[in-house]
Symmetry: C2
C-alpha cells in the first residue's frame, strides 16, 4: 500500500504515527538477528519501515531488496526502499525499479546519494542522474503513479548547498516532480526543524513533512554520526552528554528522555508523526514510543486475530485455518502461490494446493532460523524419555521456554487464560501444540482477545490440538461419546483417521460481529487443511527437534519415535456459550495422574 | 432436486414425509386461488408436490407446465410434473420434455394416461407410446439421468388389467425401465394396499412405494370419484358416510379422522411417507398432518430465516437483503437474471443489477394477485386523511389485516415480540413496513426465531423500517445523535439522503453459528440495495393502494401524497447484546402522543 495514503489517513484521524528505518547488516549473523528483531517489532505496528540502499556494490543492493521483500512478505510491514543515483546509469536504475515493482514494493525514498567515498565530491554516472529531482521525475515519467515517492529534507541545509534557501528550493523542485511526502535528516535542535518547516511552507511545499529522529544510544556512535553529517548539537545536550559519556546505560536513558521530549514538543506543535532512525536496535525506540503513550493504542488494535500480510494479492485475505496460527511464516510460504485468498468464507475461494514444505525450509535458511539450533538445544535439553518431553511442553505453557517447533512465538497473552489447564494436560499424557480459550461475545477492544476495532463483539470456540499415544486416544474417543458438542479429527502418520462428524465440514472457530459490517470469521478448522498440516506437524519432530542430537543418541531416538507412536488430534467445543473443552479429559480417566 | 434423493434421505433418517398433488384449475379465478393456496401451504414443507397433466389440449398442458414452474420458482416447492402418452406422438413428448427441462423441473410422473373420453378404449397415437413403461424407457434413453421418474401403482389392479398379478408385472417392467419410486392410486381398503405391497416386493420391486391417500371432503365428489375409478370402499366406511352424507362438515371431519387413522396404520407398518390427493384444497390435509404430529416438526425447522428457492442456480444462495423480506416474490422476480447468487457473503458475489419492477408486475398478473383489489379495498378502507392511514398500519400490527402493499403476508410470529411497540409507533407518526426483534444467541431450534437446525445459536440485530414525514425526520436525526450504536439510512423519492455512517457498508443483521460450520449470515442491510428497494417501496403507494380509488377521490389524494412528503428510513441497532432500538423514539419527543 502507498505510505502516503496511510499517512493521510492518520492525519485525517488526528492519530500520530511513527515509522522505523533499518539498514542491511554487513554479516549474515547480523541479518539473522535483524530478522528476529523485525519479527519481534512487528506488533509495534509502525506505519511503515524503510530500508536503506546498500552503499556501493550490487550485492549490497540485492540485500536491500531482499530485506525489503522479506519484511513485507513475512513480517507484514509496509516497506519503503531507498534508491540513490550514485554510481548507477538510468538503465541500471530502471532494472532495479523493475525488480522493486515485481516484489510488490510500492514506496521509494529517492535520494541523490552520498559520494562513493566520504570526502570525495559527488559525481553523476555517465547516463545517470545528478539530482534526486531528476530521479523522481524519471520514476514518475516511467512508472506513473505506481510508486509512492518520498524525498529527504535537510533542516540544517544540505552539506553541499549554498544556503538553506537554495536547499529548500531544491526540495520544492523534488516535490514539484512528484514527491508525496518528506522525511528530514536527523537533527537535535528543534528550532532548526521548525525554521525549516516554515521555509518549506513559505516556498509552497504542501505535502507532509516528517521529522527524522535518532535516539542517542551510544556516545561514540552519536559523536561520529553528528560529526560526519555536521549536525548541529545544542550546547546543553553536548555538555549533558560529556558528563555521562562513559556510562552507556546513562547515555541510552538520556537519549530516550531527549527523544521523548523532542517528539512530544513536535507532536504538540502539529507534526503528524515521527520517523525513527533505529540503527537496527529496538530497545530505545520501543521505550520512547511507550513513554509517548503511542504504543498501547497502536498495539491494542488488532485488525484480525492474526497479523495480515501487506502483500497486495493477499490484501483481501480474511480467513485462515487455525493450524498454522503459531507458524504463520510457514503458512505464508506454503500458500504464496495461490491466485486468490479466502475472503469472508474459507469454503468458497480456497485454493486446493498447499506448497511443498521445502518452500518454507528455503525461507528458514534465508532468514537464518536454522541458526537457532544451539539456543533450542539449550531450551529443550536432551530428553532421555517421553516424560522429559512432556516436561518441556509444560515449561512452554509456563512461558519458561520461548518456542517449540510448532510454535514460532511464545504463548499468546490470551492463552494465559487456560495455561494452567494446558500445563496439567501436558504433564498427564498430552503434548499440546495449539489452543484457544472460549470467548462468548467479548468487547472487540478487549486487550486480550479483542480485534477488529470499536463497538463489536468477538467470539471463539475453544480449541485444543495435541499429540497423544494411540492407547490413550482410544480411551479419549470413548470418553468423547458423552460430549456431543465436541467435534474432532484424529490422524496419525499412516493416515488412520477418527473424526466427528464422519463427514466433517469447515468450522468457524473465531468470528466477530461489528456495527455496519458483514460477519467476520478469520479462523476456521478445516479437515482438508488439517491433513496438510499434520504432515508438517509430524515432520517437525524430526527436522526441528531430533536433528539437534547425534543420530545414535537416546534423545534422537526418543524424539523420532513420537511421530511413529502418536496421533495428532484437534478438538473444537462448539458450545461456546456454556461448554467446557477440558471436561472430557477429566472424565475419561485415561490420563496419567 | 430429484425427489428420490429427498425420499431416500427421509428414509435413512427415519423421518416420515408427505407430498401433495394439485391439478391445473379450469378458470383463471381458480388459478388465482390456487396460487394463493400454494403460497399459504408452502410453510407445511411437503417433500414435493406434483401437478397433473391437463387432460386434453395443449393449452391445458401449457398450464400444467406454467403452474409447475411458478410453484417451483416462486413458492419454492420441489415439483414433479405428470406426463401421459395419451394423444401425443414421440416428437410432441420430446418437445414437452425439452420445455420441462428448460424450466428446471427435474421430476416426471410417467403415465399412460386415461382415454381421451371416459368409457372409450385407450388407443396410442400414431408414432406415440402404448405403455408407461415405453415412455419411461424413452425418457431414460433420451435424457439419461436428468429426470427423476415416478410411476403409478394400482393397489386394486388397473381397470384394464387382467389380474393384480399381471398389473404388478407391468409395474415391474416400469421399474426395470428406470422408475425411481412408485405412488399408488387412491384406495380406502388398507388390506388392498398391504397386499399390493407384498406382491410388488415378491415380484422383485425394491424402490419406495408411497401410498396415495384422498381425504374424503365431500360426499358427492367422493362417490363420483370412487365410482369412476371403481375403487373398493369398505362397507363400514360406506355405511358411516350414508348416515352423514347430507352434513358436509361431518363428512369432512369423518374424512380427516379416516385419513389420520389410515396414515397412522401405514406409517406404523413402515411406509416411508404419504402422498395426498388434495383436490386443490388445504384444510383437510393440513388438519390430517397436524393430527399425525408431522406438522410441527416439518414447520419448526427453517433452513434459513427466509424460504430458499428450489431453482437450481439459486441452490447456493444464502444471503439476501432484508428489504424484500416481506415481498420475497418481488425479490425473486427482480433477481431472476443474476448469473450467480450471494453465498456466505453479500459483498463478494452480488450481481449489481436488479431487474425492472415491471418483471414483477407481469408475474403478479400471471399469478392473479391483481385480482385482490376488492379484498384490499375492504381491508384498507377509504382513508380520508393521514391519520386513517396510520390506523390501517396499526391494525396490521394487531394482525387484524392480513397484508399491506409492502407485506405480502401477515406479520411473522417472531414479530409478535415487538408488535405492541410497532402499533404504538404507527399510531404516533411512523408508518412501519418491516422490522425484526433483537436476538442474542437464541437456540437455533427456538420455535419463533430459530433456523438452520440443531445445536446452533442464532442472532439478530433489531431492525425497523418506516415512512416518516420530513419534519419528524429532522427531529429523529437529532435524537439519533445520542444513540451511537444505531446505524441508519433515510431517503426520499427525490434522493435526498441522510445516513450513518456516511460511507455505509454491508451490515449483517441475521446470522447463525452452528457446530462444525462456517458462520451463516442470511440477512443483510445493504445501502445499495436499499436505493433499489426504496423506488419499489415509494411506487407501491400508487400502484397498490392509491389505484384502488377513483383518481379524483379524497382517498386517492391522501395516499398518493405520502410518497411525496415522506422519507423511507431504516435503522439497525448494532448492539444486539443490550441495545434497545425503540428507545430513540421515546427520547426524541417528536412523535405524536
Amino acid at each position: 500500500m502507498k505510505i502516503i495514503e496511510k499517512i493521510n489517513r492518520c492525519i485525517s484521524e488526528q492519530k500520530p504515527f511513527y515509522s522505523f528505518e533499518f539498514f542491511p547488516p554487513k554479516t549474515e549473523a547480523g541479518l539473522t538477528n535483524l530478522y528476529a528483531r523485525l519479527d519481534r517489532m512487528a506488533p509495534l505496528s509502525p506505519t511503515f519501515i524503510d530500508v536503506t540502499w546498500g552503499a556501493g556494490g550490487s550485492a549490497n543492493n540485492e540485500l536491500s531488496l531482499e530485506l525489503s521483500r522479506t519484511a513485507q512478505t513475512y513480517f507484514s510491514y509496509d516497506v519503503m526502499m531507498h534508491l540513490t543515483c550514485t554510481g548507477s546509469t538510468a538503465d541500471e536504475i530502471n532494472r532495479t525499479l523493475d525488480k522493486v515493482q515485481a516484489s510488490e514494493i510500492k514506496n521509494i525514498l529517492a535520494l541523490r546519494g552520498d559520494p562513493p567515498q566520504h570526502g570525495e565530491k559527488w559525481q553523476s554516472c555517465e547516463g545517470g542522474f545528478s539530482y534526486a529531482s531528476e530521479l523522481i521525475a524519471h520514476i514518475r515519467e516511467k512508472y506513473g503513479d505506481y510508486f509512492g515517492i518520498c524525498a529527504a529534507g535537510y533542516p540544517e541545509g544540505h552539506l553541499e548547498s549554498a544556503s538553506k534557501d537554495s536547499c529548500v528550493r531544491f526540495l520544492k523542485e523534488k516535490v514539484d516532480k512528484g514527491t508525496d511526502f518528506i522525511i528530514t535528516q536527523l537533527f537535535y535542535d528543534l528550532e532548526e526543524f521548525f525554521e525549516f518547516e516554515r521555509l518549506c511552507r513559505k516556498a509552497g511545499i504542501k505535502c507532509p513533512i516528517i521529522p527524522g529522529l535518532m535516539p542517542i544510544q551510544n556516545y561514540q556512535r552519536f559523536k561520529r554520526f553528528t560529526d560526519l553529517c555536521q549536525t548541529k548539537v545544542p550546547d546543553t545536550i553536548q555538555s549533558d552528554l560529556e558528563a555521562i559519556k562513559n556510562d552507556d546505560a546513562a547515555v541510552q536513558k538520556y537519549g530516550i528522555d531527549l527523544a521523548v521530549k523532542m517528539s512530544q514538543t513536535m507532536l504538540d506543535k502539529g507534526v503528524p508523526g515521527i520517523h525513527f532512525y533505529t540503527m537496527n536496535l529496538e530497545t530505545s525506540v520501543t521505550e520512547v514510543l511507550g513513554q509517548l503513550g503511542l504504543l498501547t493504542e497502536g498495539m491494542a488494535y488488532r485488525t484480525l486475530p492474526w497479523r495480515p500480510s501487506t502483500v497486495s494479492k493477499r490484501r483481501e485475505e480474511s480467513v485462515r485455518p487455525i493450524f498454522w496460527s503459531n507458524r504463520p511464516k510457514s503458512y505464508l510460504a506454503r500458500t504464496m502461490n495461490w491466485d486468490d485468498f479466502p475472503n469472508g468464507r474459507w469454503g468458497d475461494s480456497r485454493s486446493p494446493s498447499f506448497g511443498n514444505l521445502n518452500d518454507y525450509y528455503l525461507l528458514r535458511q534465508g532468514i537464518g532460523l536454522d541458526r537457532l539450533r544451539e539456543s533450542r538445544q539449550k531450551m529443550w535439553g536432551s530428553p532421555q524419555n517421553l516424560n522429559d518431553v512432556h516436561k518441556v511442553f509444560a515449561a512452554f505453557c509456563r512461558n519458561e521456554i520461548s518456542d517449540l517447533p510448532w510454535c514460532e512465538m511464545p504463548v499468546h497473552s490470551e492463552t494465559n487464560r487456560i495455561s494452567k489447564e494446558l500445563e496439567r494436560l501436558n504433564l498427564s499424557g498430552l503434548l499440546t501444540i495449539n489452543s484457544q480459550p472460549q470467548v462468548n461475545g467479548a468487547d472487540s477492544e478487549d486487550p486480550q482477545v479483542g480485534w477488529g476495532g470499536k463497538g463489536g463483539f468477538v467470539y471463539q470456540k475453544a480449541y485444543i490440538e495435541f499429540f497423544i499415544e494411540k492407547t490413550k486416544l482410544k480411551a479419549l474417543l470413548a470418553a468423547l461419546e458423552d460430549f456431543p458438542s465436541l467435534t474432532y479429527h484424529a490422524v496419525n502418520k499412516a493416515n488412520e483417521v477418527y473424526s466427528r462428524p464422519t463427514q466433517p465440514g469447515i468450522n468457524a472457530v473465531t468470528w466477530g460481529v461489528f456495527p455496519g459490517q458483514e460477519i467476520q470469521q478469520p479462523t476456521i478448522v478445516d479437515p482438508e487443511s488439517f491433513m496438510i498440516w499434520k504432515d508438517e506437524a509430524f515432520q517437525l519432530w524430526l527436522t526441528d527437534w531430533a536433528s539437534l542430537y547425534p543420530k545414535d543418541s537416546v534423545s534422537h531416538k526418543v524424539i523420532s519415535e513420537i511421530p511413529e507412536t502418536h496421533f495428532l488430534v484437534n478438538i473444537v467445543e462448539n458450545n461456546y456459550a456454556s461448554g467446557d473443552i477440558f471436561e472430557v479429559f477429566s472424565k475419561g480417566n485415561f490420563l496419567d495422574s
